[in-house]
Symmetry: D3
């Protein structure tokens, strides 16, 4: 396993600066954000460390050179839109860009692209699986051709009122993962496993790894803390009673997590994902967040 | 406190048979179901032990006589529709009937009517509070005139796909209770407190009683068991991972519950509500369910 | 479900006295001990409330008459020897008597006979399954003919030095139960389920009932308490760190137990089995033990 | 074991009424309060169901006759003053009266008198043991002569500001019990064991019974509930964060308690002691409290 | 946040040696002990790394120069006497010295002075607050003028017989903190927060930080371990059942602690306080203790 | 305490390479494996980093020189056969070699030799103690003469079918340790304490250290994880439901462990023992395992 980070939190640094920071701080790899250039529509989105909209051999060579110089691996490319958005125009735009990200990956020697399946948040699970059967085969075909695994992050994407009620991502639990893999049985599809999403769904993380270990193609290291005061107020059906935190500041049992992961034979990247409001005051704060997270997780890496 | 039961589970017995059963089995009181005669549209609904559609002094006198004969108190009247249904016709029909139930109560010496606030299950909390401000003043005025307290059951009513995503009842947690009482500050409104609804929302029941003890006008004794296997499958955002059970067969901490209730000074009825699939095979099974529940709860009654 | 008891603990009463006691104390049924007359070779064994060694229609008629008079059902017959004893003579004797018990059952209207599979306690699981394949088909054929289910108690029978190391009973856990039922797929074989045996094997009782619910043909209600002081001394590999106790005085979670049992659809007898050293001073003590156990369990019966 | 109650809570009933109530409600025994007639100086004190100040054979015969008529045993006599009060006059008065209670006991066939060791609440443990060595030999001599066991209740008597800091009773924990018994090695001294006092001292109750089982001469059944809100406010060094409650409404683990008690061979009286503010509104409330407590504890009695 | 230590444990090193050690070992800051020179009257007291008794500009300049050379910040000055000692002479002496410490602080660029409120350990909370209202205004006025925050350590100071019964410090819990801040509403007064003091008072540490986060002006990192064996012996009212330990060797939940602290926006010093008997054999042991503590806490610092 | 490792896991490195690796990675010491050259008969056995079969002053001088060069201490010698093997030839061979190891130790300045007591796994505890009284005095005499302490590892050695039923080592719990030390009261015998063996015997580790702290002469740092899925399947009497893991990946509570160890005054070596199947793919994996373990444990070392 290689300890790295998700580049989104360093949105104000250039690709070169991101790689330099990673190298200086002893990170082995990074997941590079590949949103299309332009304005973000939600927190932690809209970051473009790799612009795949016009990505030819020249651009690829430049990236490969930067990577060589800094000696930090690109663990994966990341782009987390809603491919099942109810608006067909938005959906097309998103899927086209996702394909571009997938096509760019092998050009710089990367074989995992992380994203969401997406969801029409106002419709139920069955309806969304129907839509997924329409939308996703084309993407997966491109991935197949590119020799790329698509790593599905299983975040429910249900944190705010505009994501209510269903959240903007479909496969969030063992039952929906199982259905996803049954729907696309031979596709280059895996999980971008993140324990923080299971904490507040009360899903047994170690058991999930025991069952789906061979489907894990990428790992996000993020923690999540239940706020008992707010949970009392609104109950599990409400919003705001759990918060993303740096590893070690939440309720993930990291020893159990890495025990299950190593027993399942996982040997890929583990990218720290920082979304902790207490560490977002400045670039220095966000860099400190990555540094602290690395210190906390190092004891699980040889 | 007086131990009784909710009459819905004995839907195939007449009012007289219900009262006779209660008396024979040592129950002190019953909550009588007052749905309008006709077909039920969901499980446990549609039961009419008291038909208030044509309820004059003659009918009332008959009921009072039955009560006198069997020596069992009518703890409350119950009618649990959706007063905030998105269909205005349905809404009107439901509110009219609810008012009829409220008006009937004092005629037989009853001062609590239990119901739901209701909810448009496809809309958010704020929208529904707006609708509640339209719909509820008229009902509460009738209650005021009748000298009746309206006991709001705080069940989320979110068990099946057709209740998804928001459930069919608005005030389900301390935050929404607080907003409800702030919205109608002097209204004859209270809680029909049922610990089973808090188990699966992970809301601290004893603390809720400490805070809202003086708002409790009626109590339902029902238990709820979390099914760990199904919770693993679908997570807390899914459906079906918790089940109503008889008192003692679920996760309610009854000692803590009655400790809080008595400390809060509650002295009213505690009506067993049976909705346990394992005890619904026959009338005998359902009667056995009530008998067993009574035995389990007796040690908390003097 | 019908609450009864295992007759062994009233070894000094006659069958008639046992039935009279059961009736007086409100028990609905009894499991009658059917050891061959003679000396017992271990505690709680060797009791003969029904002597099946010479059991013809006359004896059966007498028993049926006693049952009719006292209005207490015979839930099952019980005989708990070691059918896989390493001594072939002993084995034969035991199997012959077991067949006699099975044949007697239908003559008095009983369709469950409880026993052990047995085990050569000095040999491993595989060897013992091999022996079981030799020994058991004949017994099961007799059961088939008699229309009787054989209820296997899953006690490890490993309490004392002379039962060390393997204990005197083979199928003690989900893995061995599964193998047992796979070995004799169509045989009239089920479990005589007793939660006390799972406490000290640290096997999740509710989960076991979820998986094997349809195999349960009889239930023993016994509790088991872990002695933390002795567990510290000898560890889980030692002996003596857990003790059979009356229901309510041990570590069985009875609410969870009956929740699982009823959800699994079990509707048969639940026989209290008393093996609590603190209640064995005299016949009065042992009767008190049964009375107390009944009071403790009543709240789970309708 | 015999289930009874402490008579203090029925302070407004006469001895005869107390015995009649006990008989009617199925209690087997009572502990009779023997305060000197006059005003009480604290809650639950000052009750005189047996006036031993002028107690001759005539009075004794009258009591024996009442006991015979109602068929309820006098489990013990109780008088709970502070024999180590710093005021020597008060001390003398209290010790004299205690001796009178001890002398009265055998006259009505009672062999246990319950009381406190007492404590100068402003002085440390060592000073108080020194005073105990002065004060107690005389009392114990009288007990010896009378053939009476003195049952020491181990309540810290530290609930209110005027009992702060040390409380008004010395032997409250295993260490102080051990020292007490070592101080008076052959004296007729035992424990009046009450689990509620251990809850808030965080002392393992079952272990205490394992160690001191043979010293228990009487048992009080009272529960105690920790109030988490108040504990947060004042911490364990503060007052008011735990409250006496009826059995079943607090944090005592009753199954574990009776498991330990029976394993230790205890066979004496178990007297319910009611000091629950939620059940003190009226005589009816207090009688209800006893009735409810009895129902809750019955499942542990054969 | 800056990780440092309390200098008391290095009592045998000079100020310069303390700063050099801190710099060598990577500590960012130190809290300097400022007891008046002379003999200590209790463990961990009486250390003088900064002698404020004759502290002019010359001395200050020397200290500032040392600080500049070693590049280690002085986080705060510390002096922990009993300003509410019952002896008025001692009280005056202590308060005068405390004022001297406060006045010295700004001369070396320090704006926090840590101390105790103190307590007459033989009197109750109300009496002590009365005395605090007499004694403290003068101190706070000096702090106001000096631009210094007084950080109150909330240790109960109740570890040994000579501190019994009340301990030598008044504000030990949320209730007393609230009263303290209400008593001196606009004073430059805050908390020197130390989680170890809450462990054995059973006060929820994270909740305390949520409520009092904006009052925290300094943090001590010390752990505390409950000794279950001794707690059984003497109960929570006794002494000696909990022990100060290095961070990580006790019962403080550090992840939860730093999660709450960062969420509350705390950004100041976190000084390790070593009072662990297992690490006090020699200077090398005590230095090892600081080194080990730093390694344990580093993963919570960026 | 000095953090080191057990050399067995680096079986394919020479002694010099082992010491070089230790030095490079910052380990302070190693336990050197001293099996007789030849084939191993079980996993993790049969490693010979020090061949004591022909060990004269020349060999010793060479080892001392290597140790000097690399600056890594030899914490102990290790040889873990079955000295109570039922085969007398094997037994003799093993005991002879063990004596050779003991004699070699002082020649390279080592005073602890770790091993097993052994056990005839088919016989009970009493029989094996009898055999131990025959076999062990001779070994202990040699140790006495050599000035060497024998550190007994308390692993039950019961992981596979060929070790069933009793395991291949006798003293596995407080009761058997106590008997061992009573059997050889003045012998140079101590414990090679390893917390992983207590996890799955459910023995309280901290309490064991409190009781046997002064008997600990060496420590192994290994973790053990209970596999809940497999425990459900086979129960505590089965095999395979717990697995050795790297420190931090199992159920050992390391903070509690080191708290107890330091409080007991232990100051010797703590050698990481790697037996984690997830880290055995290659030499690099096994080295990574040691590196990771060191990082995890460092925060407990000063």
């Amino acid at each position: 396993m290689q300890l790295g980070f998700v580049s989104a939190i360093l949105y104000d640094l250039s690709l070169e600066e991101v790689l330099a920071f990673a190298a200086d701080e002893g990170f082995k790899c990074v997941e590079l954000m590949c949103w299309p250039p332009g304005k973000s529509d939600r927190r932690y989105a809209g970051v473009t460390h790799l612009d795949v909209t016009h990505f030819g051999e020249e651009q690829a060579a430049h990236v490969r050179e930067l990577v060589r110089i800094h000696g930090v691996k690109v663990a994966s490319l990341g782009y987390y839109p809603n491919p099942l958005d109810p608006d067909p125009d938005h959906r097309k735009q998103v899927c086209d860009h996702l394909k571009a990200v997938v096509r760019a990956a092998p050009m710089i020697g990367v074989d995992v692209v992380n994203t969401f399946v997406g969801r029409d948040w106002k419709r139920g699970v069955a309806d969304n699986f129907a839509m997924a059967r329409d939308v996703w085969p084309a993407i997966l075909r491109v991935a197949e051709e590119a020799g790329v695994k698509v790593g599905i992050e299983h975040c429910p994407m249900l944190f705010s009122d505009d994501e209510w009620p269903g959240g903007k991502n479909l496969p969030v639990s063992p039952a929906t993962w199982r259905e996803l893999f049954a729907t696309f049985p031979d596709a280059p599809l895996g999980l971008n496993f993140d324990p923080s999403h299971l904490v507040w769904q009360f899903i047994d993380c170690a058991r999930a790894i025991r069952e789906f270990g061979d489907k894990i193609v990428h790992v996000h290291a993020k923690d999540e803390r239940v706020d008992p005061e707010r949970l009392y107020e609104v109950g599990a059906l409400g919003l705001g009673w759990h918060k993303p935190r740096l590893p070690g500041l939440g309720d993930v049992k990291w020893g159990e997590f890495f025990a299950a992961l190593t027993e399942a034979g996982y040997r890929g990247p583990v990218c720290i994902e920082v979304e902790d409001r207490a560490y977002e005051g400045s670039l220095a704060d966000r860099q400190r967040a990555l540094r602290q997270s690395r210190k906390f997780l190092e004891p699980y890496f040889g």
